[in-house]
């Protein structure tokens, strides 16, 4: 099972970013960037070209779904896992339909993050 080398965490709440970052460290993922808004996420991505993105849907500027679309436009193979507090089936369907490779519901246990990591490359 391959592991992502560069990961981008997109969330407007810094605590959540820290938590996810720490969790990823635990799973041996160390090359991590953070972004607190959609625009910043795109800028960072364009600069570094990550191979995996944890993307919150509720962002202050651009919707996470829109960011997802732009990311995929840039690189259709980027592995994006959507993160959201809304787990409704429609939400999930919408995100997956737009090309996300996973969906993690907040609050999440480290286990779920592991699952998402495990599926990288799938």
């Amino acid at each position: 099972m391959s592991k992502p080398r560069h990961v981008l965490i997109v969330d407007d709440v810094s605590d959540m970013r820290s938590l996810l970052k720490t969790t990823l460290y635990k799973f041996d993922v160390h090359d991590i960037h953070e972004a607190s808004s959609g625009q910043k996420a795109l800028d960072t991505y364009y600069e570094h070209g990550h191979d995996m993105v944890f993307l919150d849907i509720n962002l202050p500027d651009i919707s996470g779904l829109e960011v997802l679309q732009k990311l995929l436009e840039r690189n259709s193979r980027v592995h994006v896992v959507m993160v959201s507090g809304e787990a409704s089936a429609d939400n999930v369907k919408g995100a997956l339909g737009r090309g996300a490779k996973g969906f993690v519901v907040k609050p999440y246990s480290p286990n779920k993050i592991k699952s998402a990591l495990d599926r990288f490359g799938a």
């Binding site: 959540m16 507090g85 969906f103 609050p107 480290p110 699952s115």
Partner: protein, 1182 residues
Amino acid sequence: MLYRFKWLFLPFFVLLLSSHAVGSINANFLSSSMPVNLAPAGDYLIDPEGELSISQIRGADSRLPWQKQAEEVPNFGFSDVTVWARYYINPEDNRFSQGLIEIGYPLLDHVEVYLFFDGLEIKKYEFGDEHPFSKRPVKHRNFIVPVSLFENNKYELYIKVKTTSSLQFPVALWDQTSFWESDATSSMFSALYLGAMAVMVLYNFALFMYLRERAYIYYVSLVIGTIGFQTGIDGYAYQLFFPNLPLLQSKIVSVSITFQMVSAILFAKHFLSIATSKASLLHMVNLMFALSVLLFCFAIFLPYASVIQTISVAAALMCMIWLVAGIYEWSQGNRSAKLFVLAWTSMVVGVVILSLNKNGILPRLFVTENAMVIGTLGQVVLFSLALASRINQERDEKAKATKEALVANQRAVENLSKYQTLYEESLEGMFKCNQRGEFIHANPAMARMLGFESVKELMKSRFTFKEDLFADHDQLTMLFKQLRDTGSSSEFDAELFDRNRDYFWGALSLRMVDNDEGQRKYFEGTLRDITERREKEKAQMEKQAAFEATQAKSFFLANMSHEIRTPLTAIIGFAESIQEGGLSKSEEAGYIGTIIRSSQHLLHVINEILDLSKIEANKLDVEILKLDLFAIVKEAQSCCEMKAREKGLDFNIVYEFPLPRHIYSDQTRLKQVLLNLTSNALKFTEQGSITITVFRKPETEQIGFRVQDTGIGMTKDQQAKVFEAFTQADSSTTRLHGGTGLGLSIAKQLAEVMGGDITLTSELDKGSTFEVLVSHGDLSNVDWVSDISQAGVQQEDANAPVAIPRLQGEILYAEDNTDNQDLVSMLIKPTGASLKIVQNGAEAMAEALKHQYDLVLMDIQMPMMSGTTATRLLRENGYKNPIIAITANLMDYEIKEYLSVGCNGYLAKPVNKNRFYEVLSLYLKVAQESQLKEVSKTSSPQRQQYRGTVLVADDVEDNCTLFASKLAKYGVDCVTVEDGSRAVEEALVGDFDLVLMDLNMPRMNGDEATSLLRNSGFMEPIVALTAEDDSQTIQLLLSNGFDGHLVKPLSEEKLNTVLDRYLLPAEISPSGSAKETENEIATDPDFQVLIDNYVAGLGGYVEKLNSAHDDNQWEELKGLAHQLKGSGGSFGFNEISATAKELEAALKENNIAVVPEKFLALIHEIGAVCNQSIDDSIKGLG
């Protein structure tokens, strides 16, 4: 009318006809001028009888009434008398020594001339039109007698005249020289006249031959008529043309004048275009014409006088008419009409002048004497000019019209070429056919469509519209009916043949075409090839039909599935409850009752499906045996009467006696049909009655049962569908009233197999009557029942408790299904027989060959080796003891197979207790009481306990409850949701070890939910709950992300297997799994720092929450709640997430009333976390 005006015309024409004399006589007798008119000197005697002879005349002189005549020319009109004239002549000189006496009227029939000198007859002549011309002494048109009268001699001249024409005789005395001089002049004049007329005739006839204009031939006829008339009355005709035919001379005038009249009418009519332009005149002219033609035809036979008189009147009238009509035409600008009028005027003037001359008003001159001749000559010439003018006029008009036609033609040609291109290159076929359907025209597209190379080929062929084109003659008939009724037909779609008799579909548009006479001689139209469209439509329709059939089958299957599962649910549920124990006796009895009822219903449903499939496969056999008619009815009665009474319905049976006691039919099937109809009636009737009438229909040798109810009835639509399988009268009815909806379909088909039928009459809300007829077979040897007292029947009590026989012996039972094993052992145990159970055919064979059992019960469908194979092998190995097949496979051919391989009999599954014991008793010894063995009790197995949480998704609440309770027994926590989308949400949010996912759920089905979950990274096992377990379905499930499946209804064993596979046993504490990782992370110091930071930050959240709440900033508050929901749990504070979620939900739903409460709960939770943290810190410090 005509008669009244007779006086007006008659004299005029009589004058015209009578007063024509060439010679004239001077009043002065013996004057020097020539000739000497003898008339004034004459005495006249009318001899009415015409019998007087010359001697009598002379002799009886004094006694006869001789008279003088005042006129210059004696005129006696049309009279049939004989007239005598007497002249005393005494010449003063010898002028007449070579003289001539002339009677100047050539139309006299009979003339006798006597000349006496000194009382002696010196000359006697007899001549006239009745006599040949050659007998005349002088060959002249007038009657001439040569005389020699000498000076101072006294002569007596007697002339006797008799004629049918008007009687007049101008008598003149000439000297020969003067006579011949005068005659030469008048002859020349006549010759000129005749010559002119002849020229006119020839010239105009030539014109006619050249121009072919009818007016000319009429004109020629008119001139010929005039010539005939003129020469007739002048005597020239007789003299020159037919001197030896006196008969002709007598008729020539009347024939000529009528011919002249006919010609004149034709000529004028044609000339003035009476037929087209003067409709008002036409009638009268036609009448005149008819009269003239009649007169002409009979002129020979009619008396001269009446012909002439009638013609005179008609001619006068016609003359007026022509003048008036001509003047009218003239005034309308018709130049030729002027000449026409002048021509008639010329003639009329001629006649008038002549008559005035004759009456002495005008002086007697050559011109006035010959006015008539000149008039007619003028007329003829003017007519000729008029004709020429008219022809010129017509030619001009024709030239003009021709020019116009040329222009129009040119234009038409231009248009035509435009349309011709359209016609030639059109993709639509265009054609014209005659009444027989032969093609008259067609365009290339038409020829192509009909399979011809060219239009020419089509025209040459015998291919006709009516004979060859239509594939279906009815369509042709229909098309022509439409055409006859409305004159046209558009877009008529028909299946057609081309010349090679290949089918194609065409759209025809036709219309009838009238010819000039308004007869429908042709039809024309267009043809379009619509085969492609038709085929598309057909394919579409077939697709639709296939789709509908599939729909119906799916609906049927779904319904069947429902019908089967419903009783099964009750059976399993209640059976399990009983198994659990702890029920009171009455509860248990009730449950068992339900189980049995449900099972029976299930069996019934399955039997119906089987029946139907047998019928569909044409495999339904009936067994015709002698059976008790009344017993059958009684059975239906006993089955339904109680239920009817319970519902408050009257239940009646009416027998129409006499009836046979026994009939020949299939007992089971007949009973089935009857029961079906009665229970059907029962189902749909809420009040009133149900009546079964039993009757016989001797003419068809049938027994009938009429089941009549006063129930809800059916609409016509429902009636039409009620006997159809798969299609239910109304699926909602089925839901409401239960049943499979197959019963009636089966019943009808059964009745048909039994030589009858079922018919239905029904009225909505009034009730239905089903009448079933079945053939009753040969009744010659059966008893007849004539009243109800004889109809008593003995009845088997099907519901009596089953007596368990006491048996002795060893039984081997081969069966792979443990439930059936249990059932059979339960049944056998109380009998006292011993039982050995093996799992399959192979084991059974080994066991049986090892040990001789008294009886082998052999299941048919078993793994390893089927029952049939095992039986066959046993028999082949010399096994002699009885073997009974015990099976659910009960198709006729299957049963035959069991018996053929060596089974002694068969038992149907589900097992009927009575029959089971019956068979057992047949093959085993009945035991003594003492030999019975004690039965040991089996203990129920201990249930395995598991750890974990299971998510169950199923839309049927009962199923969820059932799962929850079952899982609880395994010590497993369970969350249930009612559809796929909820399952997705719950599975992603929660922490489950296993998901049980029903496939058919509303909103989102199990397949989609699973696929979503898998795509979003859900890794836990998902097991499908299915109704089917064929390998194809399972394969599909696995590829869709399922890990396994459980077949419904749920078997305890299978559930156990699934739990065992996916959950940890309770006694094993969680280790090495994901849970371990989680624990590890939770206690990791790195995380502890994060958690501490998070908790430290919570104070800030509280402030923000408070201010948002106090300021009613709901959006702000919602955002905060959302963040806390996401973060709380992530840091291990699930309560914060939970309360935050509730607050967010309340705000989302705008449920402001509960917001304060939720808000406080969240604040409280955060506070609790903060306090805990502080406590921990203190502890840590301590």
